[in-house]
């Protein structure tokens, strides 16, 4: 269904407010009751849902663009006029569309072929990762970096990009996500405005991306996923469970991870709590004390038991 078809079905020419769509739907519903005219009702409902989603998404996009625009530069946008799509070169995804023709839905194809702003593309990528089509998402992100001239760096919301990279790490695409991180890093260096573009919340997310890209690829996927979840969703309890199981089952690997984090990933290192490798030959004072305490306790219990036995025998 296209927007034109949906509007026609609803008897509307254009949509200015979301309530208009609902009003038109409710008005027509009385003449197309599901009981009497199921086919007519189905079309009406589809048009209604299409129009509502279309409208909502338009809203979300402009909101996103506004919000992320703020966190990109830090300062107010230099130009007073709103950012119009015509000013920029169009993004061209046709090769990619051809390649994945069959695996993209009609909606995804339509959005990608009309995409003018990186924000639109990144928004779509979110959906695509959700549908577990990670390899397509990676290709789209790669194409985006290839196509966006560094002179238009302002248009790229680094925060959103970084969050996608994190999700791809968690979804088992660590290798490709790491490669893409390095590529984006080089691109940001070329712009010469890295500190300007990557500020505030984006700085933290981007820092973590770079750190994850530096970790060895041999890192277990579930541990990687736990780290990502902790960062993205604040899922500390789940991550803690995974990590503590990891530590107890594979202590050697855990020591390696701790070292790798300490060396390459200072901000991740601060987040997780992993035991360090014990010094060879050294003794752990606390464990030693506990052991002695337990000996004393057992001895005391045995003594009491013998006393009690003795009294019973007497009686």
């Amino acid at each position: 269904m296209t927007l034109e078809e949906a509007l026609k079905e609803l008897g509307l020419e254009r949509i200015d407010r979301a309530e208009e769509v609902r009003a038109a739907y409710l008005r027509l519903l009385r003449h197309r009751k599901p009981e009497q005219n199921p086919e007519g009702f189905r079309r009406l409902r589809e048009a209604y849902e299409f129009a509502v989603t279309w409208f909502d998404q338009g809203e979300t996009w402009s909101l996103l663009e506004r919000e992320l625009g703020g966190s990109l530069g830090g300062s107010a946008p230099p130009e007073p006029e709103p950012v119009g799509p015509q000013r920029f070169r169009r993004l061209d995804f046709s090769a990619l569309l051809e390649r994945f023709r069959l695996r993209l839905s009609a909606y995804e194809t339509a959005t990608l072929s009309r995409a003018q702003s990186p924000v639109h593309v990144l928004y779509l990528v979110h959906r695509i990762i959700d549908q577990q089509k990670g390899e397509i998402a990676l290709e789209i992100l790669n194409t985006l970096v290839d196509q966006l001239p560094p002179s238009e760096a302002d248009r790229l919301p680094v925060l959103l990009f970084a969050r996608h990279l994190l999700r791809l790490h968690g979804a088992g695409h660590a290798e490709a996500a790491s490669a893409l991180t390095r590529k984006l890093n080089a691109w940001l260096e070329v712009t010469g405005r890295e500190s300007d573009l990557v500020a505030g919340e984006a700085a933290a997310a981007w820092q973590v991306c770079k750190e994850l890209a530096r970790l060895p690829l041999s890192l277990r996927p579930d541990v990687r996923k736990a780290l990502v979840l902790m960062l993205l969703e604040d899922e500390h309890s789940f991550a803690d469970r995974v990590l503590s199981r990891f530590v107890s089952q594979h202590p050697e690997e855990a020591y390696d991870l701790e070292e790798a984090l300490r060396e390459h990933a200072p901000s991740l290192y601060r987040l997780v709590n992993l035991p360090g490798r014990p010094e060879a030959g050294g003794t752990d004072v606390r464990a030693e004390t506990e052991r002695w305490l337990s000996y004393v306790l057992i001895a005391a219990l045995a003594f009491l038991f013998i006393l009690w036995l003795g009294r019973r025998m007497d009686v």
């Binding site: 409710l26 519903l29 009385r30 009751k33 599901p34 009981e35 009497q36 199921p38 009702f41 189905r42 409902r45 589809e46 849902e49 069959l102 695996r103 839905s105 577990q132 390899e135 979804a171 088992g172 695409h173 660590a174 996927p221």
Partner: protein
Amino acid sequence: MTRPILGIDLGTTHSLAAVMDGARPRVLENALGEILTPSAVHLDARGHLLVGAAAKARATKEPERTAVGFKRDMGTDRRYVLGDRSFSPVELSAMVLKQVREDAEAASGERYEEAVITVPAYFGELQRRATKDAGAIAGLRVERIINEPTAAALAYGLHDTSRKTRVAVLDLGGGTFDVTVLEIIEGIIEIQASSGDARLGGDDFVSVMAELVDERIRREHGRSAAGHPVGWARLQEACEGAKRRLSEQNETRLALPALPTEAGEIDVELTLEREEMERAFTPLLDRIEAPVQRALRDARLRPTDIQEVLLVGGATRMPVVFRLAAKLFGRMPLRTLPPDEAVALGAAVQGALKAGHAGVDDLVVTDVAPFSLGVACSDFLGKRRIDGLFCPIIERGSVIPVSRVRRFATTVDQQSAIEIEVFQGEHSHTSDNTKLGAYAIDDLPRKPANEVCVDVRFTYDLNGLLDVDMTVVETGEISSFFIERSPGSLSTNQIERARQMMQSLKFHPRDALPNTAALARAEALYMELSGAPRSDLGHAIAMLSAALDGQDQTEIEMCRDGLNQMVERLRHRSH
């Protein structure tokens, strides 16, 4: 004129029927002049079937010959043994439906061939099929199964069509709990989300009470009734009564003289306090909250967006349930409709809508798919392939009738066949969902993986029929199949056989039912009494039995009325 359609609420504990009377629905009385027919079946020693109050009353004396609560087992292959025979939940439901239908025909003087039957919103596809099958065995055409809370909403929406409001309906019946969120806009009733717990109802509160009382008996007498079928049935019955009394008063007495236990009979007498019970109910009450949250989430609403909270189902009479509902939504719940009748009334309205009845012309209802429907698929996590994933096509909460399409690709090179396995459920792995059917396409063009695609279209109609169309994108070749009968549901032959089985069974004659029920109820009460009231009751029972032998109609009626009055009086007095 079109034939009238009967609306039936086939409940876990009670069933009843309603019809449209002009523009208003009205409930119908049964042979005993009562509105609720207990969903109980009893097979007596002579092989006669009893359905309803009489059967329910026999449950305490002969639990091994009585079936109750079978609605919870619809769609499973559990069998209920009654004396020397065994029946499936579908057959037992069919017996209740047959009784309800005959009573309705007697009360209204109409013949009903078609019915709308209600089921809990959380019933899956298999349980809905089983309910339709039960209707077919009872000789009713059941094209439409509707959700109980939707029915309650219909009855509610009908009662004032000029308003605009957002309502949450909470239905806590004997065996199931349902929540539905809907919007009413001047006669348009838009169901926005439903959710529920298929195993939470008033009966569970009784079980908790019975456990608690048995625990106390064990402490006091050192014996337990749990091991003795009759003892346990009597204990449950007594707890059911006590639970209802505790809805009105703060404490109640429970007396069970000569209660059989695994080690001899004991006399039990104790007091139960409402507060103590409510504490014991906490784990059950906690289970009410999750479905409410889920329904609100599905409808994208906050509790404060709800303007009216409507309580239906007998168990919402418990003050603690009322308080919980008030707390969850931050407003006082309403009991505008009679809680036991709302669902049946709504089923009658739905029947009128389906028949295109003029009385409901300005009413429109849209309902949602109660569960997700989809297919099994595979996915790649990095390079690893994972099979058996559930890929929904029609998501739970989609407005029905609905048609949705999704595209799938081959996963290996030169793949020539693809199997479309259809599942119902909400779990991410198909192994946790219910399989409804399968279809294979085996002449795909051979190409590298990912290059051949199939569009799968699901079309789901108001009658719950699922139509599956598959188009091979390359060739445009279309195949389609219908999922009307799912595995586990009965074939036409099986339904015919069950019908014949029912006909061969002797149903207790309908006009003798009032007498049988009066006797059965009196005998059940007799066990709970002692002293003078007991001998009075025994005397009245003997009088009715003698009158029945004499066959004098006026005398029989006199004795029966006397007995019924005495039972009523003693029931109240004994507590």
